[in-house]
Amino acid sequence: MKYMLLVYGAEEGWTEEERHQCMLDSMAICEELDQQGKWIASSPLHPVTTATSVRVRNGNRQVTDGPFAETTEQLGGYYIIDVENLDEAIEIAGRIPPAKIGTVEIRPLCPLPEVETQQ
């Protein structure tokens, strides 16, 4: 099953050194998962101040700064993995460095319906 691990945390909660170490540790986990054929994609995200929101209403496209939710924990990165079941996803989520200070949300990817492909 495919899962997305959404990494939430306080953006200010890190020293530069910690952030660097976190990247190295995360990359090591990705490397390991990749070798086992369980890694699909992952990336850290720039801070939420760089975010742009797009909405289309009545055919008009509106572009705004942010979403700027009222929460201290922001989405800071993601992993997409392909593992046996939720227990394995939980095990991996527990090893991701930001889990120690933030929250890792596990979401199963919803399989797309089988659509007749146009030849």
Partner: protein, 416 residues
């Protein structure tokens, strides 16, 4: 003369086997709803075929095997007019040519897998208990709804939500790994104990007990113990058996509560007590005693006393001390305070209860006020006792408990 009616034997078989067969079908099919449908079809097929051919030697194996083939049929039939989840379809096709392993051990493991699945920490705790009762114990949604005083529709929704979570989040049907087991056992034991307590001392409603729930909890406890001889599993089973041993003595024919010291001890079930005591000893011998074992040990001390005056309160206080060290709660403190009152006199108990209340804890817990009231009454302070019982009555939500407290208040009025 017709043979003993097949219908009766089928009904009994359904009661005995349906949950076991379901657990195995869930493991094989990986889908709750499909397994339930396949189960129903297997029993329908059995009702027809067994009428002519008689009940087979191993009806369970027959039912599982038939259920598997019915599931394959169901999936193929559905696939013709709607798109089936490809993963399930592939799985069902794969098991169609596969022999189900039907060793006794395997069947029981399947039930245990199902308990761990229903009590997975990723499932909302409010959903875990009803889901376990529905899927593992086979209670109907209506029965569960009435046990928790909820509308059946709302309860059905909770159960559907739980099943959807298992399916969509990919919660596996496995007995957890050695490393995760301690944490996961705790969750299962907590659910089993909740089921038991809801049956032993229903939190709300007009009747005080629901024996069917308690019996299911004991059955689950036995099943857990058979597969995981962990000391705390022994402790929980012992605790439930020792409580259960007093069921006949703890309510009057009118449904009124009879306190432990007023119970007719000849009505305690000696067989359950013996089994409970043996389990406590086994748990202590295995070492690493936890809160369930200690509570069971306390219950065993009560069981040993032929008359209330013979109760070894010193032993009980000592066990409560251990329980507090192992991570107590205000309720444990309250129970310890009552034990101290019995050992050292009412005033010491009242002092300890007031310390808990002064900290702002248990203020809304009716038993804290009624225990304090009872101790004050015995000390002759009827005015304060009346106030405490009045507060307890305001908080109690269950009819028999309200009657008990009302009777206490009436008694106080008569005395003064």
């Amino acid at each position: 003369m017709p043979a003993p009616p097949l219908e009766d034997r089928m009904t009994r078989l359904y009661q005995q086997e349906s949950r076991r067969v379901l657990a195995t079908l869930i493991r094989l099919l990986g889908d709750f709803d499909l397994a339930e449908e396949a189960l129903q079809e297997a029993f329908t097929a059995a009702a027809e075929q067994w009428q002519h051919e008689g009940i087979p030697d191993n009806p369970r194996a027959w039912l599982v095997s038939t259920g598997r083939f019915k599931a394959v049929d169901l999936v193929r039939r559905r696939a013709s007019f709607q798109k089936m989840q490809p993963a399930i379809a592939a799985r069902v096709e794969a098991i169609a040519d596969h022999n189900a392993d039907l060793a006794e051990r395997q069947i029981k493991d399947d039930q245990l897998r199902l308990i761990f699945t229903c009590c997975h920490p990723a499932i909302d705790p409010k959903v875990q208990v009803p889901l376990t009762l529905r899927e593992v114990c086979g209670l109907t949604t209506e029965e569960i709804a009435s046990a928790f005083l909820t509308a059946p529709a709302a309860m059905a929704q909770r159960i559907v939500r739980g099943k959807a979570k298992i399916r969509d989040a990919g919660i596996p049907y496995v007995i957890p790994s050695e490393a995760d087991l301690p944490e996961r056992i705790d969750a299962v034991l907590a659910v089993i104990y909740l089921v038991f307590n809801e049956g032993y001392s229903a939190s709300t409603g007009t009747t005080h007990t629901r024996p069917d729930l308690s019996n299911e909890a004991i059955r689950l406890g036995r099943l857990m113990l058979e597969l995981l001889p962990d000391p705390e599993v022994m402790g929980l089973l012992a605790l439930m058996l020792l409580h259960e041993s007093r069921r006949a003595a703890r309510l009057s024919p009118e449904g009124d509560i009879i306190l432990l010291e007023d119970q007719d001890r000849s009505r305690w079930n000696r067989e359950l007590i013996r089994e409970g005591q043996q389990l406590v000893q086994r748990a202590f011998a295995a070492g690493n005693v936890g809160p369930y074992t200690i509570q069971a040990a306390i219950s065993a001390v009560h069981a040993e006393a032929a008359r209330p005056e013979e109760t070894d309160w010193n032993d009980i206080v000592g066990l409560y001390d251990v329980l507090l060290q192992a991570g107590g709660s205000p309720i444990v403190e309250l129970n310890r305070a009552v034990a101290i009152a019995m050992r050292d006199g009412e005033a010491s108990g009242v002092r300890l209860i007031e310390e808990i209340l002064d900290r702002g804890e248990l203020l809304d817990y009716h038993l804290a006020h009624s225990a304090r009231g009872e101790l004050l009454r015995r000390m002759g302070d009827h005015e304060q006792a009346r106030l405490a019982f009045t507060r307890a009555l305001e908080l109690a939500r269950q009819e028999p408990e309200r009657r008990f407290l009302t009777a206490k208040l009436r008694e106080l009025k008569a005395d003064s």
